[in-house]
Symmetry: C2
Subunit: 344 residues, 2 copies
């Protein structure tokens, strides 16, 4: 150790690391044998296997993905497009990682942001030669996704895409909202307002779920949908609007947890007791919603299961030759916390 504090490598790829050939030379075998051993392909004798493994370890050999991808024409890479700002998607990524690892694939993440479009993110994934793409809540038109799906297996996670030949893994959003309404009605609520989440496919499903459930309980007349979007901001705004209108419902259901948190803050800030005077419910079971300071009743989307199913769908196409598209709809589950109670 020279401790000069300035001995970091400067060149492109640093000192050349050991190659397959170096390992082979060390044990006096061909690179072919070493390759077979290292990939766990049956063939080499036990003795060879041990010697190779030892040599590789001694040399600190680590295969070069780039080279093996090129040679094998398999990258064993799944491309994941995310919105790096979404807490829920962050959670999905975590589960995708473990699921992919279990089946021997690696993930490459690409994010779309205000300054980076969805298609740029996808381009990047394609340039890495990902074998399949898992898109989290893609917003691109179905036709575009269908096109993409013709080049590479595509799994849409969270968003319904009909007739595009893609695989879809999602949870039954309408059912989720239905469960919320059932829960509230069960507590005795009737004046249940819904704060909408915009014009996306998911928002449509949830809104429909609200309508259907209200009608199912004979509350057609009580259906009341307020304009909102995906942010805390929207919840706050709608909350203030409700307060101003002087026509507070006994329960508010919002498109997602973020919106619910805005709503919560607006109402509490105005001295409204929750759940004493008004019950509030969100959707997503966001990390935020679990905090004791919010303690929000919400709906869990079973992130782990969705992730597992998405990876499974990819593997079925890649390794098991499935070619027909599949849609997997999971049942969401209500998580009752502290923001719901019988109406006063």
């Amino acid at each position: 150790m020279d401790g000069t504090g300035s001995d970091a490598p400067t060149g492109a790829l640093g000192a050349s690391r050991p190659r397959l050939e170096d390992v082979a030379a060390r044990v006096g075998l061909s690179t072919a044998s070493v390759s077979l051993v290292l990939r766990g392909v049956p063939g080499p004798s036990e003795r060879t296997r041990q010697r190779v493994l030892k040599a590789a370890a001694d040399l600190g050999y680590r295969p070069d993905r780039t080279a093996s991808a090129l040679a094998s024409k398999r990258s064993r890479l799944l491309g994941v497009m995310i919105d790096v700002h979404s807490a829920f998607q962050a959670e999905l990524v975590e589960h995708l990682h473990t699921a992919a690892e279990e089946v021997g694939y690696d993930l490459v993440l690409s994010t779309h942001t205000r300054t980076r479009t969805e298609s740029t993110a996808i381009e990047t994934l394609l340039a890495f030669r990902c074998e399949a793409l898992i898109l989290l809540g893609p917003v691109a038109p179905a036709a575009v996704l269908a096109d993409l799906g013709r080049q590479v297996p595509v799994i849409s996670l969270g968003r319904r895409v009909s007739g595009a030949g893609l695989d879809v893994v999602r949870s039954a959003d309408d059912d989720g909202v239905g469960q919320i309404v059932d829960h509230l009605v069960g507590l005795g609520h009737r004046a249940i307002v819904y704060v909408d989440g915009g014009k996306g496919v998911i928002a449509t499903d949830r809104r429909r779920g609200y309508r259907a459930a209200m009608r199912g309980h004979g509350l057609d007349a009580q259906i009341r949908i307020l304009h909102g979007d995906l942010t805390e901001e929207a919840g706050d705004r709608v909350g203030k609007h409700l307060l101003d209108s002087g026509d507070l419902p006994t329960a508010v259901v919002t498109f997602n947890d973020r919106s619910a948190i805005g709503m919560l803050t607006a109402l509490r800030g105005a001295g409204v007791a929750i759940p004493g005077e008004v019950s509030v419910v969100g959707y997503d079971d966001d990390t935020l919603s679990r905090l004791t300071c919010f303690d929000l009743t919400t709906v869990s989307q079973e992130a782990e299961e969705q992730a597992r199913q998405a990876v499974l769908a990819a593997v079925e196409r890649l390794d098991r030759g499935r070619s027909a598209s599949r849609e997997i709809v999971l049942a969401p589950s209500l998580v009752v916390r502290g923001t719901t109670a019988p109406p006063r």
Copy 2:
């Protein structure tokens, strides 16, 4: 369009896409020329250039990163390790993306989670042959990072790492907290409590900043530090503790915005007017803090500038041969919003 909904590719890499050779054949040139044109290397004539570009476009040619990385021994990839759960890091990633793009590099993201250690995340990055690593708030011991830095240029973003030969880009955390204290004292506060953020390097710096600033104002006797951590949970807990103690200060400074939000909720929930009775300040200028429902006074870390500097540091090492390590310390800036006011 056959619209059967089941025509997605099933094989490993889908139908083989056009190669350099195909483009070359189409214009009757060698692959060498095409490669030169496509990479914008000077040499080919204008006429050739045009024809190649057209042919490539017609064929929908997209270079194979894997192959070119292998051949050129340059991946032009920067590895970024993030904690996918952090909103602030998400923002950094966004800026890193644009900064990297400007200098012709691409990013590969790897995340560490509860189930995926920091070193696994780094291994992945290395396997992709990233030319430099940008680690967001790494927690590994300095010695480990120093070791890594011997293999590949490493930039620690946000965390101070002394004498390990790495580049560091961070903001002056002590100064940031100092600015907060100055602001509060300027408003007339004296009883200013600090809620700590644990035992990390960053927490240490901020705590020190608080102490120094208090002393600077002759408020040694008022120094009061409460145990906390990085979560909303902690803020909430400490807030309740303050309420119970019956000894409310006139201002509370917390380690980060998340903690501040917990604090805010706890105090408001107990009917304490903010900023009327107590002022609250966070740190990070988190997306959350900007919401009208929190409207938190906080300190901005200049995410964009930090990202730009980190990429610059990498490029200096990779393309400009710098070998001495560098530490870039940016000045944070106070963002005054609605949770601070003169004491009652």
